[in-house]
Amino acid sequence: MDRQFVLLALGLILTIPVFQSPIFSKQFRPLQSLHVVKSLPLNMVAGSTYEWEVSFVNPKSESGLMNVTLEVAEKKTVVGFGEFHVEGTLESYDNPPREHHTLTLTFTETGSGIFQSQAIISERFNIIKLEISSVPNLMPGEYTFTLTITVSYI
């Protein structure tokens, strides 16, 4: 009895490296046509709000789970929790007749300076509009904004 369970457990454990091998594992493929529509200004002022827009094409033209992550970092200082605020909108256009859809993206700060939002996309063309603001007492410095978009289909 015990030997059978051990074998079963070993079998299950062995499936993990097997399916993690390049043949089976989840592959990230480049997101098509991802590019900046409106860039953040090179010089920003704490307390003010700035827009950042990127567009991309839904690679499979079918429903998928979109994950948007914005990470804010600075070399000399640690970005504190609640120092930035991010609001977003997803604008989509399907294939002809090209109807316009809008969806509010709710961003949650999952870590200091890390914001995440999820949405289901199904239309062909998509524009993510971000409104990024900071508290007025933000430490001045050179901040890096990294926007990561992942779309997954099952």
């Binding site: 997101l31 590019h35 200004p41 890096t144 990294t146």
Partner: protein, 429 residues
């Protein structure tokens, strides 16, 4: 039993296979965009952010008092609550240094100060009493009793703007007072004149005027009967000047503030006792009750806020209770100005700010104020003296440029040293 084990094994392997297939069937697309931006501070102090604070060193021997003009500049589209901080190296305690930040709308002050400069006499350096509709001095001899009080407004405007024309106009007044233009028949000068000369001397850096004010005060105390004591002064005012407790307390407070300025602390302390006593006797039948209460409050706070704390609390309560819904007292510019100065000294900032808002909104387009249908140069000056409010926190509107000045008052018994003063501004959280 063996069959059950085999089934279990098969089911387990099937589940594992399903997980693998589902996992393998998941397709994910991934893209990343990165950019770097310089984020500047929302508010600048004298054009610098708080990582570059304003510092200066001063040699202090004890008893020094000076001021510095600064400005705040908002670069952001949202209102910002600001906190001002000053530190000293070596560190100083609150009993060794009093640091006060004075904020006012510079354009309101400038309009009035510009008008006072235009209305000043080119011959005797004074002003007409009633300046309604005037665009220049009338050419008549200026009244002798409004030199110092009117010029104090010019000094306030200079501290807030740095406009040298206001200091130049104030110098003409200081010279006129020294030349005797404001003297009474008995040879004494007017109650605010001593204080004006001291303040002008501090601001201009010319100690001659401070020395003159002190020696003139001493000589007037020695030679003019009613200067002998604050009690004698009050009796003189009540019997020979105006039978109104409010205005008599107001005038004795003016003398007390001057005594304090020329460092006759004994006279100032005794005057405070008299003012504290008579301020309780001011009542609603006194026409000048508001200027009396307001100036008494200012004087008592200046001399010894701890000793007179009960009087101060009582006066603040009275003044808060008598403020009209529009923010004024008695809908009168002079009354409101003196009450604001008193509340400001007492730290009753909320009601003082509402009074300031009323003054700002009732200012005429020419920069003056109308009281009882007329404009008076003295009242115009008193209004701008009341405008700067002492704040440690201020709300800066989007893209606003705001002038303010800091006063530093070092205690007399401070350890003589070269102190480093560091001033920073931080948006309050």
């Amino acid at each position: 039993m063996k069959m059950q084990r085999k089934k279990m094994l098969i089911v387990g392997l099937a589940i594992a296979l399903l997980i693998g297939i589902v996992s393998a069937a998941t397709i994910s697309y991934f893209g990343q965009i990165q950019m770097t931006a310089n984020v500047k501070q929302a508010v600048l102090l004298d054009g610098r952010d708080f990582s570059q604070p304003i510092t200066e060193t001063v040699n202090v021997t004890g008893g020094e008092s000076f001021w510095r003009l600064h400005y705040l500049q908002s670069q952001t589209s949202v209102p910002v609550n600001l906190l001002l901080e000053t530190s000293y190296s070596p560190p100083l305690t609150d009993s060794e240094i009093i640091t006060t930040y004075h904020f006012a709308n510079a354009s309101t002050v400038e309009k009035t100060a510009d008008r006072l400069v235009v209305l000043q006499s080119s011959s005797d350096a004074g002003w007409d009493w009633n300046v309604t509709g005037l665009t220049a001095h009338s050419g008549s001899a200026s009244p002798t009793n409004i030199y110092g009080v009117t010029a104090l407004g010019l000094l306030e405007a200079y501290k807030l703007t740095g406009n040298s024309s206001y200091l130049d106009a104030a110098k003409k007044v200081a010279d006129a007072i020294v030349a005797g233009k404001s003297q009474r028949a008995d040879g004494s000068i007017r109650s605010p004149d001593y204080r004006f000369l001291v303040e002008y001397g501090i601001i201009s850096g010319n100690s001659t005027y401070i020395s003159y004010a002190r020696s003139k005060w001493d000589s007037d105390c020695a030679n003019v009967t009613y200067y002998a004591s604050p009690e004698a002064m009050y009796n003189h005012l009540a019997t020979t000047w105006m039978n109104d407790t409010g205005i008599d307390v107001w005038e004795l407070s003016n003398f007390g503030l001057s005594a304090f300025a020329v460092k006759d602390t004994d006279w100032a302390n005794k005057a405070a006792d008299v003012v504290a006593s008579y301020s309780l006797a001011i009542n609603d039948s006194d026409e000048y009750r508001f200027v009396g209460w307001g100036n008494a409050l200012r004087f008592l706070c200046t001399v010894n806020a701890t000793k007179y704390s009960a009087n101060i609390t009582s006066l603040v309560t009275t003044l808060n209770n008598t403020q009209l819904s529009d923010g004024s007292w008695n809908s009168d510019t002079q009354d409101t100005a003196y009450v604001i100065m008193g509340l400001n000294a007492a730290g009753a900032i909320d009601s003082a700010k509402r009074g300031v808002e009323w003054l700002v909104t009732t200012q005429q387009s020419n920069g003056g104020w109308i009281s009882d249908g007329s404009e008076y140069s003295e009242v115009d000056s008193e209004a701008i003296q009341a405008l700067p409010i002492a704040l440690t926190q201020v709300t800066l509107l989007p893209y606003e440029h705001l002038n303010f000045y800091i006063t530093y008052e070092f205690a007399v018994n401070i350890y003589p040293y070269t102190y480093t003063i560091t001033t920073t501004v931080k948006p309050a959280s």
